[in-house]
C-alpha cells in the first residue's frame, strides 16, 4: 500500500494524478478462508481490519453483495456520539469514540472525524428529566456531558427559534460528539484491511450456508462455494434473512429510515443539533449541505424507500425550530433498511450454529459505533468467545430478560 502523505500528494500532482494506486484489489474469491465476513459495510470492514491488525488473522474475506459502503454505512446522517444511559452502552460506544479520535492516523485515510459538539434539545418537563437522568449517568461513566440553558443553546446556534411550538427548555451537550465522513470510513477500513491481505469481494451475494453437525463450514455465494472456519454476519437490515438461511430467528424487525440533504450553503451550523421530541436532527456537511435525519416507517419493509408523510413530519419541525431554513431546497432524499431491536441496543452474539457469529441490530444508530463494534467483534471471532464489551449484547438477553433499554437515548435520536 502506498501511504498517503503530503509528499505522495506532491509527487502525484506532478503526473496530473494519473498514477495513484487502486485503493484496494479486486481479487477472485479463494476456495477457503480462516474467517469469512458477510457484509461489506463499515462494521464488516472494520471487523476484517481488526482481525488482521490485532488478532493475527489475515486470511479473511469480506463478501459484499453490492459495493462496499452501499448499505446503511453510505446512507446515514453520520452522527457520532457516546452519550447513552447504561454502563454496557457506555462501554461499547465510548470504546468506539476513543477509536474515532485517532482513526484517520490509524488507517492513514482521512475519515474527516469532526468532534464539533452535539446538542440534544429538551422541549418539555419529561425531556428535562430524561436528559437530567441520562446526563448524570453519562458523567458517572466518565464521559463528557454538559447541561445547557436555553440562552447557552442560543449562543451556540444563534438562529434557533427557542420560543417555538414546543419551546426549548434546555439541552444536553456532548462536546466530543460530532460527525465523520461515512464513505471514507468504509473506504479507509477497506484499503487498510486489503493492505494486510484481506480479500474484499464485491458483487458477490451470500445465498446460503454450509452447515455440518450444527457447525458452519462455509458460505454458498453467487460466485460459488467458499469454505470458512468461522463466519461473521454483519448485514444490518438483512440479518433476519441470513439467520433464516442458517435456520434460526432474531429478535429484530427491518424498517426503512430516511434522510435528506439540502442544496449547499455557506457555513451556518457548526455543531450537530438533535431533538427527539419533535424529531428534527440536523448538521451541516463540509460541502455545505444541511443533513437532515427523518424518522423510520413503522412497518417492516425491505423496499429501501420510506413513506412520503415521514418527510413532511421531519421538515415541519426543522422549519419551526430554524425558520431561516424555510426556503431551502432539498436536493436528495433516500432510505436505508435498519435492523431494529425492541431495546434499541445492538446484538453481537454467538448463534445456535457453532462458529457462526452475528453483529447486527444497530438499527437507526450504528454508524457511530463502527470502529468499536468492529474491534470487539474481531476479538470475539478470533477467541471464539465474546469480548467483555460485547458480551452483554448477546441475542440470548431476549431470553434471560437482561435487556439494555436505550429507548430514550436511541429510538428517535440517532
Amino acid at each position: 500500500m502506498n501511504r498517503y502523505s503530503i509528499f505522495s500528494l506532491l509527487r502525484n500532482s506532478v503526473n496530473y494524478h494519473q498514477d495513484w494506486q487502486r485503493a484496494w484489489r479486486s481479487p477472485d474469491p479463494k476456495r477457503e478462508y480462516d474467517v469469512v465476513i458477510v457484509g461489506g459495510g463499515g462494521h464488516g470492514l472494520a471487523t476484517a481490519y481488526y482481525l488482521a491488525k490485532e488478532c493475527g488473522i489475515s486470511n479473511v474475506a469480506v463478501i459484499e453483495k453490492g459495493w462496499i459502503g452501499g448499505g446503511n454505512t453510505g446512507r446515514n446522517t453520520t452522527i457520532v456520539r457516546s452519550n447513552y444511559l447504561y454502563d454496557e452502552s457506555a462501554g461499547i460506544y465510548e470504546h468506539a469514540l476513543k477509536l474515532w479520535e485517532n482513526l484517520s492516523q490509524d488507517l492513514n485515510y482521512n475519515v474527516m472525524f469532526s468532534p464539533r459538539g452535539l446538542l440534544h434539545l429538551a422541549h418539555n418537563v419529561h425531556d428535562m428529566q430524561e436528559i437530567g437522568r441520562r446526563g448524570n449517568a453519562i458523567r458517572l461513566n466518565g464521559i463528557d456531558s454538559q447541561f445547557l440553558t436555553p440562552a447557552q443553546v442560543k449562543e451556540m446556534v444563534p438562529f434557533i427559534n427557542l420560543e417555538c411550538r414546543y419551546p426549548v427548555m434546555g439541552a444536553l451537550l456532548q462536546p466530543r460528539g460530532g460527525t465523520a465522513r461515512h464513505d471514507a470510513v468504509a473506504w479507509g477500513y477497506a484499503r487498510a484491511a486489503d493492505a494486510m491481505g484481506v480479500d474484499i469481494i464485491q458483487n458477490c451475494e451470500v445465498q446460503g450456508f454450509k452447515i455440518e453437525n450444527n457447525t458452519v463450514t462455509g458460505v454458498e455465494t453467487s460466485r460459488g462455494s467458499i469454505s470458512a472456519k468461522k463466519v461473521g454476519c454483519v448485514v444490518a437490515g438483512h440479518c433476519s434473512v441470513l439467520a433464516d438461511m442458517a435456520g434460526f430467528r432474531l429478535p429484530i424487525e427491518s424498517v426503512p429510515l430516511q434522510a435528506l440533504v439540502s442544496e449547499p450553503i455557506k457555513p451556518i451550523l457548526d455543531c450537530v443539533v438533535m431533538s427527539g421530541s419533535v424529531h428534527a436532527y440536523i448538521s451541516q456537511s463540509d460541502k455545505g449541505e444541511l443533513v437532515i435525519g427523518a424518522g423510520s416507517d413503522l412497518y417492516n419493509s425491505y423496499s429501501q424507500r420510506g413513506s412520503f408523510d415521514v418527510i413532511e413530519a421531519t421538515v415541519g419541525p426543522v422549519v419551526e425550530l430554524y425558520p431561516i431554513f424555510s426556503r431551502m431546497k432539498m436536493l436528495r432524499q433516500w432510505g436505508g433498511i435498519v435492523d431494529v431491536t425492541v431495546d434499541r441496543s445492538p446484538i453481537l452474539t454467538k448463534t445456535p450454529v457453532n462458529n457462526m457469529f452475528f453483529n447486527c441490530g444497530w438499527g437507526t444508530g450504528g454508524f457511530k459505533a463502527t470502529p468499536g463494534s468492529g474491534n470487539v467483534f474481531a476479538h470475539s471471532i478470533a477467541r471464539g468467545d465474546m469480548h467483555p464489551i460485547a458480551e452483554p449484547f448477546s441475542m440470548y438477553r431476549f431470553i434471560s430478560g437482561a435487556l439494555i433499554d436505550e429507548g430514550a437515548a436511541a429510538a428517535v435520536a440517532h
Binding site: S240, D244, R249, Y299, N300, S301, F398, I399
Partner: protein, 93 residues
C-alpha cells in the same frame, strides 16, 4: 403502499393506519408452563421475512379496529386484508 383497504371502512390512506407487527402469533395457552426460551421467542423473536409478510394493522385514525394484512415487504404491495379470526389466506407471491 399508499392505500390500504380496511375490512370495515374500505380503501383509505396509509397515514390513517398503524402497523403492529407480525400476525397469527398464538398467545400461550398455559403461560405457567413456559420455559424462558419459549417466553423469549413468543415476546421478542420475529420472522421478519423479505417478501410475503402477514401482519396486524389498526385503523387508528378511522374506525380504530384491528385487522390483518398480507403484504410484500419488498414492493409494499398489499395482497389482502382480512378480519381478525379469519385464517390467513394462501398467497402466490
Amino acid at each position: 403502499m399508499l392505500l390500504i383497504e380496511c375490512p370495515w371502512c374500505g380503501l383509505r390512506d396509509q397515514t390513517e393506519f398503524h402497523c403492529h407487527g407480525e400476525a397469527h402469533i398464538t398467545r400461550p395457552l398455559d403461560p405457567d408452563s413456559l420455559s424462558d426460551e419459549e417466553w423469549g421467542s413468543y415476546v421478542f423473536f420475529r420472522n421478519n421475512p423479505k417478501g410475503l409478510h402477514y401482519e396486524r394493522w389498526e385503523h387508528s385514525h378511522g374506525c380504530r379496529r384491528w385487522f390483518n394484512a398480507a403484504r410484500d415487504t419488498v414492493t409494499d404491495h398489499v395482497y389482502a386484508t382480512y378480519k381478525p379470526g379469519v385464517a390467513k389466506p394462501e398467497i402466490e407471491s
